[in-house]
Structures are given as structure tokens and as C-alpha cells.
């Protein structure tokens, strides 16, 4: 049964290039069946009526598949429900009268655009360095023309689950994008279609990641805990392996 709860929100408000600060708002009569973003919609309606600028936050699919949404809620990326994006986090996980602190995904490589929206285009830039297969494949080939072992296909699919939300960067004590990059590198390293560009892909993507000011992995595994898609640090080991092999001219 759904019920209504009241919350006190502390929300980060900031305009680009200016200093930001937390503002406190009341979220009243929130249906526990609502998602976190729907709760923000309700709060924004009230703010608008009061003549206060609504809280800017990013969203698109609201079904946990696009990677647009995401904030740090009570100190945890996406609010820390295992394998749940912020749009799929529901208000039944909150208690009546609870304080909820909402901060954007922080990293030096993710400058704040406005309020809870950060610029994650760095992740796109990493993809642009090789997160694709550039051979022309023409029409969809006959299934089974390229035999792929089931375990390989599954591991590649697991890696391909990454939606590029950036939670791993925001949760990493070093602001590192290793989990993201490793998922993208793995996805292609595991499939024959990715092999021709394998070495150059890993080198270029790592170089871009460094250039954009993401930090270095110190194997603390916070990223994997924060990831709404369950991307595992196994991929980081694979990224390291791919990088070593590429530099030794082995792949």
C-alpha cells in the first residue's frame, strides 16, 4: 500500500562558474510509489508556484537504461540501492520525516553545469577514442557466421551493460573512470569484431581518460559497489591486461 510521506531536502544549487551551496526545501505529501525523480518533479512544481527556480536535474528514459540520471543521495551515488539508478529508486525506501541530502556527481572531470547536472561529456570523449568497431559491416550478417563462445558472449554482454552514468567516477575516491573505460574496452576485447583495433583502442582510450583529468585506480573497488549495472572490477583487471599486452605489442 502506498502512503504519503514528508521529507526535508538539502539540495545543491549552483550556476555554472559560480559557487554553489545547499538549500533546504520541504517535500510534502510524497507518494511512496513515486520514484525519486517524480518526487523532485513534485518539489519543482511547488518551487515554481513560489517563484523559486526549479532544481535542475538530468533524466531521460526513467527506466534505468539511458544513463542520464544520477546524483549522490545521502552520501551514496544513485542513493545506494544495489543495481538501481536514481530514476528507479522509489520513495518507499525513505521514511517519513527523513532528511535527504542531494549532491551532484562530483569529480574534477565532471564540472557542474547547473544544480545537479554535471558535464559528463568526458565519458563520450573516451568513447570517441575507440569505443566502437569501425569496420563497415553492411547488413546484419547471418547469425552464427562468426562463432563466439557462450562465456565470451556473456562476459561481453555483461560489460556492455554499462550505461555511462558516471556513478563509478563520482564514487571513486580518486575520481577515476577506470570502471567505465574497462567496461567499454572489455566489451570489444571479448568479441572477434573488436580484435582488429584492440591494441590501439585501449591505448587511445586510456590516454584520453588521463588527459581529461580522471584519477588513477587504486583498487579500492568503490566503483563496483556504486554501479547500477553491476559492472565488475574483473573488467578493470582485463583493461590492465589489454593495456600491458598492447604496449608489449602482443595483441
Amino acid at each position: 500500500m502506498s502512503k504519503q510521506i514528508n521529507l526535508t531536502l538539502k539540495v545543491w544549487r549552483q550556476n555554472r562558474g559560480e559557487e554553489g551551496k545547499f538549500e533546504t526545501y520541504e517535500a510534502k505529501n510524497i507518494d511512496t510509489d513515486a520514484s525519486f525523480l517524480e518526487m523532485l518533479d513534485v518539489v519543482n512544481d511547488e518551487l515554481t508556484l513560489k517563484g523559486i527556480e526549479p532544481i535542475a536535474f538530468e533524466h531521460d528514459c526513467r527506466e534505468g537504461i539511458c544513463g542520464c540520471c544520477g546524483s549522490t543521495v545521502n552520501g551514496k551515488t544513485h542513493g545506494s540501492h544495489e543495481r538501481t539508478t536514481l530514476c528507479q529508486l522509489h520513495m518507499r525506501h525513505f521514511e517519513d520525516g527523513q532528511n535527504v541530502v542531494i549532491e551532484p556527481f562530483r569529480a574534477t572531470a565532471f564540472p557542474v553545469i547547473k544544480d545537479l547536472i554535471v558535464d559528463r561529456s568526458g565519458l563520450d570523449e573516451i568513447i570517441a577514442e575507440g569505443g566502437y568497431v569501425s569496420v563497415k559491416t553492411g547488413n546484419a550478417p547471418e547469425a552464427s557466421t562468426t562463432p563466439i563462445k557462450k562465456e565470451m558472449a556473456e562476459a561481453a554482454m555483461d560489460a556492455a551493460e554499462c550505461i555511462g552514468c558516471g556513478a563509478c567516477v563520482a564514487a571513486c575516491p580518486n575520481g577515476s573512470a577506470m570502471l567505465f573505460t574497462s567496461a567499454k574496452v572489455s566489451q570489444y576485447a571479448l568479441l572477434p569484431q573488436g580484435h582488429p583495433e584492440r591494441a590501439q583502442r585501449v591505448k587511445n582510450m586510456v590516454a584520453k581518460m588521463d588527459e581529461l583529468g580522471f584519477g588513477n585506480c587504486s583498487n579500492e573497488y568503490e566503483c563496483a559497489v556504486s554501479c547500477p549495472k553491476g559492472i565488475d572490477v574483473k573488467n578493470i583487471a582485463r583493461l590492465n591486461r589489454e593495456f600491458i599486452k598492447a604496449n608489449l605489442g602482443k595483441n
Binding site: P173, G175, S176, V206, C217, S218
Partner: protein, 220 residues
């Protein structure tokens, strides 16, 4: 990407960090521990070990140079990595760590600096310290056993200093070993990992073994 940029890339620097650490672990820490344990077997055993070590001067100097290189590389890379990481993860107001993040991982820079301080002190204590002579099976040699005894007996502060710094060694190694393995590209799982367990047992086991020597010298 040239080899130089690869080496100075995030993964390249971590590989250097891991490799220099591993060299010190394998070529210095393990033999050093083996030698130290002989202290527990009395003056003859320990002094004869020291005596034999002195016969191997060219090898010892070679190892010392290698250690000097390794520690320099290790420290330069550690500083670069830590500073870059501080810069990359700035201005977080509310982020909380999960239980995943071990204390050992968090303390790496602190334990590392402590170990460096310890090494300097340790070298002043024993390497650059005047040693008395004794005779062993009719051969004149340094009485390193007596020197170790004299440095700890009746000096609880010195003892506590040594033991405390071995705790830093325990923390440092228990994260370092498993972390370097993951850096080399061998998967260390998050949960129930044997590698993590072995890394902790070896790290803390070595720290404890080192710590026994000053304790033994103190109570003897």
C-alpha cells in the same frame, strides 16, 4: 601512444609502482626477514649470518643500488599518483565510503610515508652505527648480535617505535600485494577472494615476524 607516454599514463605509473614495490618485497624484504629470524637462534647464528653477508659485498652493493632505484621510483610514482588523484576527486561534500574500502587501502600514503621514515631511522640505527668486534670460530667479526641487543634493552620507547612502524608495514603490504596483482591484470574479486586473504596473511605475518626481533631483544 609512444612507450614514454605509456609509462607515464595512469596504468603505466601504477605498473611502475607495483613493480618497484614487488622488487623490494622479493629481493629485500623476504631475505631480510629470513636473516632477522636467525637472531632468535642466538649470537653465533646471527653473527655468522652477518659475517657471511659481508663476504658477499659485490652482491650486497648490487642489491642496495637496486633498492635505492626501486624506492626512488616507488616514491616518485606514488607522489604523482596520489597528487593526481587528490586533484581528480575534489570538493565532495557528502560522499561516504562503502565498507568495500579497506582501512589498509585508505592508509596507503600514510603507511608509505611512515615506512620511509622508518627506513631512514633503521639505517641510522644499524647500518651507519659503530659495531663492536667479536670472534667467531677463531675469526674476528662484527658483533651485530650485541649491537641489536644494546639498541633495545632498557629502551621501551625505541621498542614501541619499531613495533608501531611494523604495524604500518602490515597495513601497507596487505593492500599492496593484492592491489599489485590486480594492476598486473590478474582479477582479484571483490568478495571471498583468496588473493586478498593470502595478501593479508603474508603482509601481517611478515610485519609480525619483523616485530618479534625487537621484542625478543628487549625482553632478553
Amino acid at each position: 601512444m609512444s612507450i614514454k607516454t605509456s609509462i607515464l599514463s595512469s596504468i603505466g605509473q601504477k605498473l611502475l609502482l607495483a613493480t618497484s614495490g614487488l622488487i623490494m618485497f622479493l629481493l629485500f624484504l623476504i631475505p631480510h626477514m629470513g636473516g632477522n629470524v636467525l637472531f632468535l637462534f642466538g649470537p653465533d647464528m646471527f653473527n655468522s649470518y652477518a659475517h657471511h653477508l659481508h663476504q658477499l659485498v659485490p652482491i650486497v652493493i648490487g642489491i642496495e643500488l637496486l633498492m635505492l632505484t626501486s624506492i626512488s621510483v616507488h616514491m616518485i610514482m606514488a607522489f604523482r599518483v596520489v597528487l593526481a588523484n587528490r586533484k581528480a576527486a575534489d570538493k565532495r561534500h557528502t560522499l561516504k565510503s562503502s565498507k568495500e574500502r579497506s582501512l589498509a587501502a585508505r592508509l596507503m600514503p600514510v603507511s608509505g610515508i611512515m615506512i620511509f621514515i622508518f627506513i631512514v631511522k633503521h639505517l641510522l640505527d644499524f647500518k651507519f652505527y659503530e659495531k663492536a668486534k667479536t670472534t667467531l670460530h677463531g675469526v674476528e667479526t662484527y658483533d651485530v648480535y650485541a649491537m641489536v641487543l644494546s639498541r633495545f634493552q632498557g629502551d621501551p620507547v625505541h621498542l614501541v617505535f619499531y613495533v608501531l612502524f611494523m604495524v604500518a608495514v602490515g597495513f601497507h603490504l596487505s593492500h599492496a600485494l593484492q592491489s599489485s596483482i590486480q594492476t598486473y591484470g590478474i582479477y582479484v574479486p571483490r568478495e571471498g577472494s583468496k588473493i586478498k586473504l593470502i595478501s593479508a596473511v603474508v603482509g601481517w605475518g611478515m610485519a609480525a615476524t619483523f616485530a618479534i626481533i625487537p621484542i625478543f631483544a628487549f625482553i632478553k
